[in-house]
Amino acid sequence: MPGESEVSLNELLIEQLNVNMANISSIIEKEGQQLFGQSNLLSNEEITEYTLEFLELFVKLLQADSRIDRRRKEFKALREFFTNFSQQLQLRGGDLSEFVRYVQFLQRVFLENLQEDQRLTFQQSRELLLQLASVFNDITLDVFNVYLEEKERTITAQQEELRETSTPITEIWDGVLTLPIIGTLDSSRTMTVMEKLLARIEADRAKVVVMDVTGVTAIDSQISHHLIQMMRAIGLMGADAILTGIRPEIARAMTNLEIDLGGMITRSTLSEGLKEAFRRLGIHVSPARGDAGETR
């Protein structure tokens, strides 16, 4: 008779908790101090608060129904408690494995406490084990998800930051933009760079864009295709595109791939590219009077 046994299980758990609350609370607190207190992740007061809140929420969950229903608001509240708890620990540099060990320990405390109760039948023990396992497994899964989400958020933020810093578009002179490209140029990055670059051309009314690929160490047909697309888009915006810094190994790879840069302006170095940009703007750069060196 599952209904009856479940009712009595919840009742048994509540009874055990009421009788041994002080003892259970103290065991949990002790474990918390060992796991989180020694590494200064939580203060003793915080550990006590978390322990009491957990026990209160757990009792509420047991009292809510004859069986633990995962859709009930009491269960959601318990999960939310652990989610916040684990987030707090993660923010303070806590380790996921420590927290999982803590959740497993909580489960063990209840089981060990009930072991001493002679009224429990084999069937009830089995059901109790399954019930507690299912509750704490859900909590462990939540904690894992929180941890993974946080990691994913960090990685996405780092990728975004890397993208921003790896494609700095600078107006080096009135109407002249420079864009050093470092690393690999995949479709997604090309899209981001192109969007930013074209918007800058429009906003700054740029006349020349110098794209420097000194930082590109390898090239394939897709990357070169993206480069050509970028140069065409710049041209369509009415600006001149100058490609600079093609390394010998890149030039060799382009030749092998039969990539034709005919019709596109290329210069060996960024410096040469800038000279070409100035020439196109009719700007003449010469050394200040008194400096040695010839006028360029």
């Binding site: 074209l198 429009e202 041209g235 369509l236 915006m237 009415g238």
Partner: protein, 125 residues
Amino acid sequence: MDRLHVTPLGEAQILLEPGEALDPSDSDEDMAQLYAQLQDHGARRLICDLGGLPVVDPVYYGWLERLATLCGVAGMEMVVVNMRPAAAYALARQLDGPPAFACERSVERARRRPLEQPEEGAAGG
């Protein structure tokens, strides 16, 4: 032609602003009328302002190519101006080679481009 707004700019240069009503897939009649207008003005350069166009799709690019061919037949240079970033981006992805026309950032810059002389020694426009 409300689909194609034509403004003579002087110095044998014509500004063309395609209107929203233009159907790039069915524009033969418009092209013929435009050709007649260009001839009437003795135009040497057609400046096509795409500032109002959000995106260039293959059909629209086909129309621009036909316009460039028409300019070639009339011995004119075609310059597209004011292309918006999204339009340039979309078009760059479609192109296999250089576009069939020149591009400039603004009408003023297109106007300042040196015009090719029709014959050696002739006065410039």
